[in-house]
């Protein structure tokens, strides 16, 4: 066996998986998106751009997704970074593992159950009732964009914490000493050394969370209560309820294209930001 043959053999399983699980369904979606809805729902072959012309009907779903996904990513980042920093830089190594496990403990229960818990916390008899008790009346949380954002951040926080934690943990602590030795106050050391060297972790975390959020449907369904819905919810509706597969495919394909474009631009930007080769991990 030549070296090249061996290489082919090694990538063959991944290649097969890629073909069957990604290329094939995507092709189906693309073909369906040019088709028509059958009389009893489903799909009838055709070649028409009608479905794409109909996209504005689902504009709100796209708007919500494109606003709340980046916003949720940003909120998760702002909460995850200090947490990861504390864990990686400030915590006694003895406690690190335990605290890290605590971060993922929520993952041991289904997101469905945890989101239901949030329905109660944010619902009328939860936080609003507490606020009422101290005199703040009329606060509505559940079924608002804020509720969805809270649910999103809560659900995806560990995915943001871990890559940032890894980047900060790998950071050579002597660089921080060197910075201090050269006259930088702690905050300037953070800005000039810690932050730039943790960019790869931040980039990975944001990418992971953003991509998953773009396809999210469970949290908006539960905490948005049909008022705040994502493209994911529109797809559930189109494929499972109204059985309009052709339009559903057009919506799905549009989402994929939007994602490809944003992620490509994002990767370009990050590549320009990341100058040190030492941190060419993870991504």
């Amino acid at each position: 066996m030549t070296r090249q043959e061996r290489n082919w053999l090694l990538v063959a399983p991944a290649g097969a998986w890629f073909l069957v699980m990604l290329v094939l369904p995507l092709s189906v979606v693309l073909v369906f998106s040019f088709g028509e809805r059958g009389p009893a729902g489903g799909y009838v072959p055709a070649f028409t751009l009608e479905q794409y012309a109909n996209l504005p009907a689902r504009l709100t779903a796209f708007k919500n997704t494109l606003i709340l996904a980046p916003l949720g990513t940003l909120a998760a980042l702002l909460i995850a970074y200090p947490l990861a920093y504390q864990l990686a830089v400030r915590t006694d190594p003895k406690w690190k593992t335990i605290l890290l496990v605590l971060v993922i403990v929520p993952f041991w229960t289904s997101i469905l159950i945890r989101s239901y818990a949030w329905i109660f916390i944010l619902g009328g008899r939860g936080l609003p009732a507490l606020l009422e008790a101290i005199g703040i009346e009329g606060v509505r949380l559940i079924y608002t964009p804020l509720a969805v954002t809270i649910g999103i951040v809560y659900g995806y926080l560990p995915l943001m914490v871990f890559p940032i934690y890894v980047a900060l943990d790998r950071l050579d602590k002597r660089l921080l000493e060197a910075s201090s030795d050269l006259g930088a106050r702690p905050f300037r050391t953070f800005l000039q050394v810690t932050l730039p060297l943790s960019i790869p972790g931040v980039a990975t975390g944001c990418l992971l969370v953003f991509i998953l959020l773009m396809g999210e449907f469970l949290i908006p369904a539960l905490l948005g209560g049909g008022k705040v819905f994502f493209v994911g919810n529109a797809l559930v509706d189109l494929f499972l309820q109204s059985r309009n597969w052709a339009f559903g495919s057009a919506v799905a394909f549009t989402l994929i294209v939007i994602m490809l474009v944003t992620v490509t631009i994002y990767m370009r930007l990050i590549a320009r930001l990341r100058l040190g080769r030492d941190d060419a991990q993870i991504m």
Binding site: E177, A178, D181, L182, G183, A184, R185, L275, D278, D279
Partner: protein, 379 residues
């Protein structure tokens, strides 16, 4: 805790009485949990000198250095810089810079940005132009002009070492601390860098404090060496003082190489001492400070102080040649004495030529002058 003082405040004072001592350790101890890393260190560092901390791994050299840099606060005692107690002064306020053992260069910055890092932290800000000039000059000093736009990973180990040096000296610190800066370099490069370090120190007039476990490095570079053992300072002196007048067997052993013959100190008188070995051999030499008769001790004689002859001389010792290593200018012999055991002898080339040298298995006679031998306390 001492009040937080800024160094700028201090430096603003008139420089009327610039003292000869730039830094000082006063009864400084440091413990990590129950590990006593430094115990009762007392040391003055003279302005402009090249001082080395020398000792085996784990003896507390780095700890001493880190207390000068401000990364560790002493458990007790005082650290002074320019006459001011700085125990509680953070590293970023100290007019001191360090060259780290692993260099600790910033991987996300270019060579020039690494070197200019310290200058960019100054408040009030230095003009961009001035920073660029200073960085350029520092690059020139370490002979890296033209490398300014390079990335750290594009530099070899020796070049990284020079970047680390430039990054420190560009700030014109009152004290440059170097923690085993050459340990990671190969032997040839290390020799070159030693010479560069020494030139640099003379050229800049900055006080250098070097940590090393390499006695050769300490001997060749330093104005003074501070020998440490298990957290304590054992002896401080010029390389020659330490070599010729070690105050303990530990120093005699660590600084240079020596032969030691153990025995009982029989008599101490007028700076001279007599030692009787277990087998009854009487040996004489200079008495080291604090030596008392009646205690156990040892006689130390350097290999190059021993003469080796074919014919017996008065008070010479008969030995058998066991091994011979040709070193070019010198020949090193390992000889065996009936009761004193193995002895190292280093003979210069000239003596060799006159005498054709000794073959393995031959009998030879060793002699040395009493003034070259030193009787030391055992420790």
């Amino acid at each position: 805790m001492a009040p937080k003082a800024s160094f700028a405040q201090y430096a603003a004072r008139p420089q009327a009485g610039v003292s000869a001592t730039v830094a000082e350790l006063r009864s400084v101890s440091k413990s990590f949990g129950d590990v006593l890393a430094a115990q009762d260190l007392n040391l003055g560092i003279a302005r402009g000198e090249f001082l080395s901390f020398l000792g085996p791994s784990g003896c507390g050299k780095t700890t001493a250095l880190r207390m000068l840099a401000g990364f560790e606060a002493p458990s007790s005692g005082e650290v002074l810089i320019d006459g001011q107690v700085v125990n509680a002064l953070e590293p970023f306020r100290r007019p001191v810079n360090m060259v780290f053992q692993s260099y600790a260069l910033f991987p996300h910055l270019t060579v020039a940005d690494n070197i200019g890092y310290g200058l960019r932290q100054r408040r009030p800000r230095l003009p961009r132009q001035e920073i660029a000039e200073k960085v350029g000059r520092a690059l020139e000093i370490v002979r890296l002009s033209g490398f300014d736009r390079r990335r750290i990973w594009e530099m070899s180990g020796g070049q990284q070492q020079r970047v680390a040096l430039a990054r420190a000296i560009v700030n014109e610190p009152k004290l440059l601390l170097l923690d085993e800066p050459l340990a990671a370099l190969d032997r040839k490069l290390r020799k070159e860098m030693q010479i560069e370090l020494q030139d640099l120190q003379r050229q800049l007039g900055i006080t250098f404090v070097l940590v090393t476990h390499d006695q050769e490095e300490a001997l060749s570079l330093s104005d003074r060496i501070c020998v440490m053992r298990a957290g304590r300072i054992v002896q401080v002196g010029s390389p020659q003082e330490l070599y010729d007048h070690p105050n303990s067997r530990y120093v005699a052993d660590f600084v240079g190489t020596s032969n030691f013959f153990e025995g009982r100190v029989d008599a101490v008188e007028g700076g001279r001492a007599r030692l009787v070995t277990a087998s009854g051999l009487t040996l004489a030499g200079r008495a080291s400070a604090g030596l008392a008769a009646g205690t156990t001790g040892c006689l130390s004689i350097r290999p190059e102080q021993i003469r080796m002859t074919r014919a017996p001389e008065p008070e010479s010792q008969a030995v058998t040649v066991h091994n011979r290593i040709f070193l070019g200018e010198h020949t090193e012999y390992l000889v065996r004495h009936e009761t004193l055991g193995n002895i190292n002898v280093l003979t210069p080339r000239q003596a060799e030529q006159a005498d054709r040298g000794f073959e393995t298995g031959e009998t030879a006679h060793l002699a040395w002058s009493d003034a070259a031998a030193l009787v030391l306390k055992n420790d």
